[in-house]
């Protein structure tokens, strides 16, 4: 908990994202006069009252190349604190590549080259003196397929903190993380059993718990439900929605209903280009771009 408080004070030094900088594409941020559905208005008024909207991650003119081919093309995007931002788009549009750039997971692919900048609390993640390991300690990630370690449930959660020198009560941290991932009640009696004995949905929640144990401010989720059945999917969606109280989440999904259900903000990506971004309601009900409309209404992709 202490860490989370620290993070808030760090965040206070960051930029405030209320109005868009003038040099940006006008459609990158929501215009204030847009009318919102009562439901969203309700949700938003809660949001704006008890939290200041701060930008935690700033992506500027980001292009990502695989060798010669460009997967992400001049993307600029602001990620606000304690919001769920969904990145949607057809397969192969570069959304996963964009997400993985946010915690430098693309570093492991030798032919990937990056232009532009991503700053986290104002600090460039790709700056010369930035240690990628440090980046990944701070920014958590949940993958497409559940990938628990072939170890016990408790060890899965405890491993991250223990290799990073956590000094507190590991058992308490494991319990807290599992509770936050809504898995505690199901596994509390078999913490020392192998994580591989869990169902797919439980494994994915364990992976979320494992990421939460590092108490990241920002959590990246790469199609976290695509390998799961509908019931597990809805449990994870509920969980993601709850996590929004504490964490900032970027979720990549090709399931539009999912984006509409869980996210506050939506960014629509097509062939590496950011077509539109805004409040999820607006993007889905009153898209500004023709392409967005075609995509969200199921006409392509």
């Amino acid at each position: 908990m202490k860490k989370a408080q620290d993070n808030v004070s760090v965040g206070a030094g960051g930029q405030f994202q209320v109005s868009a900088p003038k040099d940006l594409d006008p459609h990158l941020t929501t215009s204030p006069e847009i009318k919102l559905s009562p439901e969203t208005r309700n949700r938003m008024s809660q949001d704006t009252e008890d939290r200041q909207r701060k930008t935690i991650l700033t992506i500027r003119d980001l292009s990502i190349y695989y060798g010669e081919s460009r997967a992400v093309n001049q993307v600029s995007l602001d990620i606000e604190e304690r919001q769920i931002t969904a990145i949607i788009g057809p397969s192969g549009c570069g959304k996963s590549t964009l997400l993985r750039a946010c915690n430098r997971m693309n570093d492991f692919i030798p032919e990937v080259r990056i232009e532009g900048s991503i700053s986290y609390h104002g600090k460039d993640l790709y700056g010369g003196n930035v240690d990628p390991v440090e980046v990944r300690r701070r920014i958590g990630m949940v993958f497409q397929k559940p990938n628990p370690f072939p170890k016990s449930i408790a060890k899965n959660v405890a491993w991250g903190p223990s290799i990073n020198g956590y000094r507190g009560d590991l058992a308490a941290l494991v319990e807290k993380s599992l509770r936050r991932a809504a898995l505690w009640d199901e596994v509390k009696d078999r913490l020392n059993e192998s994580a591989l004995g869990l169902s797919g949905g439980q494994q994915q929640r364990l992976c979320i718990a494992r990421a939460l144990a590092m108490e990241p401010q920002l959590l990246l989720m790469d199609e976290p439900c695509s390998a799961l059945d509908p019931i597990s999917t809805s449990r994870i969606e509920d969980l993601i929605f709850e996590l929004r109280e504490r964490y900032t989440i970027i979720i990549v999904t090709h399931n539009m209903q999912q984006a509409a259900r869980v996210s506050d903000m939506t960014a629509f990506l097509d062939t590496g280009v950011l077509i539109e971004t805004g409040e999820t309601d607006q993007v889905f009900t009153r898209p500004r771009e023709k392409k967005t409309e075609d995509y969200v209404s199921g006409r392509f992709g």
Binding site: E134, R137, M141, F149, G160, I163, R210, A211
Partner: protein, 293 residues
Amino acid sequence: MSSWLDSTPSNLKARHQKAKIFSVLCTLLTWFSVVLLAVLIFHVSRQGVTWLDGKFLSSFPSRFPEKAGVKSALWGTVWLIGVTAVISIPFGVAAAIYLEEYAKKSRINTMIDINIANLAGVPSIVYGILGLALFVRWFGLGRSVVAGALTMTLLVLPVIIMASREAIRAVPSTLRQAAFALGASRWQTIRHHVLPASIPGILTGVILAMSRAIGETAPLIMIGALTYVAFTPDGPMDSFTTLPIQIFNWASRPQEDFHDLAAAGIIVLLSVLFVMNAGAIFIRHRSARGQRW
């Protein structure tokens, strides 16, 4: 609507027959090698088992068959294999980790790749010559256990490296990504996840390598282990002889009794091999528990 199938004569029966023939053939060939092995063991046992007693294990070689034993050869083999394992496993596994986890794609690394694959096919006598020139003469190690173990290391290193690389490559990349995403360094990822997950495969390679080393004779003859040794090695710098050499020695004598002694020696050699493999399989089984994806 009728499909073309209806108007074509069925060939199902012939296909089933072919499948049957092939499966019988495979079964026969499998049993052929098993039976061959059983015959060999039976033959050797019948010939050597009467000579096999405590005295055989605790006596040194002698020119009188009834006094001769394998003590020095047995201990020589244990020493040789022990020192070879101590040298070759760390080198082999380290090389495999480097090539799989650290090495970037470059011309030099491709060269190393090809060379390791080729080294595995070099005849063992060539390693013997290399060992003689390099370790015995140039390093001045003499005809010692260390010189023999280093030569054996050269011989089995490619096997260990290739098996370990295969095992490391089989660890799913999602596991590595999970570790990296939690802020693990490359070494932590290897130490805690990649190595434990690949230990069963690495051990398989080690078993193969050690089994090869224990039966190898030619390179040891080359570096001069073919001598009458009437003591057990006390340290790695002592001279030694090994079971295969002792067996070879006895088998080349004209007297019938020595041939029986050779058979008894083979039983001892096979037993050592069996105990070693059982140990490795036990470790492999234990470390493989709970490891599946």
